[in-house]
């Protein structure tokens, strides 16, 4: 892997990424010669949030086993991206995450129970997107890249200095929407940063079946978008790269595409069986490149982290997880009326009738068919029934 002092490519000279992923920290924790690292306190903060993120992730996986979450896509192994990219954002910026990026939401400060609404199944979204400027986690792949570009362009039109950071996966880069988003961003010079977490697989499909380019970052040049290829398990590198891309976007220099090479340690979700398509050796090799260990080694070597600091981070993470577990053990409040309330700004007459019918049904459920006449009356039905 190659190393850099300034990760930001020169926009006018070179839109292409390098041949090898950029790195600030080697897996050993040693710094690359000449590398300029982010400030100590920023890295220490990053470390703590990564420890917290990993603990959150493990807790979420545990909650699936207890039946408290329907499904969970783990980002274990991807902490450098999940956390490093997010802490590089300002408050005025927006994050556009995917289903994979619960940890990024935690890093952004979204409440963990609100984060998990989608996967718990009580509603599609638990948090207020405007509170932390975090768009809904996106499932239809790559579709939110366009939302990020639109939001960023609107910010530019309105004269706001907001930047949008959008996450996508290696698989997601194959969807037409990803290409249209890069193109619109390039033409509009929109203040947007695309972070591709190349974690090696789209469910079971490896990169060799997904794309034949030298790297995914090589897509940028086709849209006039500056591109970088980075080591996605190097927290300092991810942080620095996103920070420089955000700064460039804020300065009016336009979008950046970053490919971060990382690895999904767990299966696609708890419902997936990864042994069907990859070897344990491969997983072990990536475990040896663990992003938290890497930062730990660096901070330890620089005397910024010791057993006490490590324990404190772990304790904070543990407290976070235990509070989450407790809160998730409470059944969520469910309100069937909500089904009808937000389809339109005002429920249509037909939705009002359907809501009334459901209300009647639920009231009379214990009576079963005996209650049918009453239900019908409640729903205002007679010989000819409205829908």
């Amino acid at each position: 892997m190659s190393t850099v002092a300034t990760p930001r490519p020169n926009l006018t000279r070179d839109l292409l990424p390098g041949d090898e992923p950029l790195q600030l920290l080697a897996p050993s924790g040693e710094t690359a010669p000449g590398a300029v690292l982010p400030a100590d306190d920023a890295l220490l903060d990053l470390y703590r949030r990564m420890v917290l993120g990993r603990r959150f992730d493990a807790q979420a996986t545990a909650l699936t086993k207890q039946g408290r979450l329907a499904v969970y896509p783990s980002s274990h192994g991807q902490e450098a991206c999940e956390v490093g990219a997010v802490v590089a954002l300002g408050e005025q910026d927006w994050l556009f995450p995917t289903y994979r990026d619960c940890m990024a939401l935690i890093a952004r400060g979204v409440d963990p129970v609100e984060t998990l609404s989608l996967l718990r199944g009580d509603w599609h979204l638990g948090y207020d997107p405007y509170e932390h400027r975090v768009a809904p986690q996106c499932t239809p792949l790559a579709t939110n890249t366009l939302h990020a570009v639109g939001l960023a362009r609107a910010a530019a039109i309105k004269g706001e200095d907001t930047v949008a950071l959008v996450f996508l996966g290696d698989g997601g880069t194959s969807e037409g929407d990803a290409h249209e988003a890069l193109n619109f961003a390039g033409v509009w010079k929109a203040p947007v940063v695309f972070l591709v977490q190349n974690n090696g697989y789209a469910i079971s499909v490896p990169m060799s079946k997904q794309n034949a380019a030298p790297s995914l970052a090589h897509k940028g040049i086709g849209y006039g978008v500056a591109s970088m290829l980075i080591d996605g398990n190097d927290p300092a590198m991810v942080y620095a790269a996103v920070q420089s891309a955000v700064a460039a976007a804020r300065a009016g220099e336009g979008p950046t595409l970053i490919e971060a090479r990382t690895y999904r340690i767990e299966a696609h979700t708890n419902a997936d069986d990864a042994t069907r398509y990859r070897s344990q050796d491969e997983v072990l090799a990536w475990l040896a490149r663990d992003p938290i260990d890497r930062l730990d080694r660096y901070l330890t070597a620089r005397g910024l982290l010791d057993a006490g600091g490590r324990d404190q981070a772990a304790a904070e993470a543990e407290a976070f997880a235990s509070s989450l577990r407790d809160r998730m053990n409470l059944d969520p409040e469910l309100d069937p009326a909500a089904l009808f309330e937000h389809v339109y700004a005002e429920p249509t007459p037909a939705l009002q009738r359907q809501a009334a019918r459901l209300a009647a049904e639920l009231d009379f459920a214990p009576l079963e068919h005996a209650g049918e006449a009453a239900q019908r009356a409640a729903a205002g039905q007679s010989g000819d029934a409205g829908r």
Binding site: Y130, G150, R153, A154, N183, Y344, A345, G386
Partner: protein, 336 residues
Amino acid sequence: MTTTVAASAEPITMAKALNQAMADALAADDRVLVFGEDVGTLGGVFRVTDGLASRFGETRVFDTPLAEAGIVGTAIGMAMNGLRPVVEMQFDAFAYPAFEQITSHLAKLRNRTRGRIEVPVVIRIPYGGGIGGVEHHSDSSESYFVHTAGLRVVTPGTPADAYDLLRAAIDCPDPVIFFEPKRRYWAKSSEPLVAGTPIDRAVVRRPGQDVTLMAYGPMVATALEAAGEADVDVEVIDLRSLAPFDDETVCASVRRTGRAVVVHEAPGFLGYGAEVAARITEQCFHYLHAPVARVTGLDIPYPPPMLEEHHLPNVDRILDAIERLQWDDTVVLPDA
């Protein structure tokens, strides 16, 4: 919304009425943007956006790269950030690339977020046939959108309503699919351009006692023509709002007349008329003397220009349908 009256002494076309609606909306509200393919410099392939870019500037009215998912997807992002995009899909069939953005995001974002995110995007789609267009330029694609909860789907039948309904669509907090009957772009009227009719109400365009004839978009004029030629007294309802459907206006009419016909260009099979017929039958079964008749396009891909006349509903087919509504009440049951 405030009622806007634009004086129009001389007759204007539907295209011009739509243009005026966008101009007035752009003037009234800074958050309104107009964009799409060729809508800026060229003023649209039908000139519906003519002059808007030069009047309001390239930041508010502009040409995009050629990608419909891109147009709708970025419009969604802009709406999330407080703007009110009015975008154009150049022709009906060219909205299909945006289908996922429309169906999975535009329609659902309000609901997914419990109303926290509003996406007041208007998608203008010139639709329908009768203009001698080559394939993919004459689809009536309303069914694809009408079935999707969260979308409003509307379509004007007259120049004045084109203005009224487009102003309402742009003011609406919900996403609106705005179908423009392209074969009526050059239809003229001197009716004044006034905003204010609720977006979700059907309008009785011609009162009558004997039969309720429902149409929308390009077929409103055809229905009115048929009504004028019929032997019976036909009430013509311009549905305007396809989703939601105005049960109140329609059922009041059908319960009075006892007979109903619905007309559209789209193929009949799960065309919009299916829902109209099904709901009217549910709500007015015992008032009906005959099943609700559907006069629709054939169940075929849109034909080439030289054959399209055979596909499209016309006055004769509407009159035939009316005549078949069992006026003598002597029912002949077919063999089972």
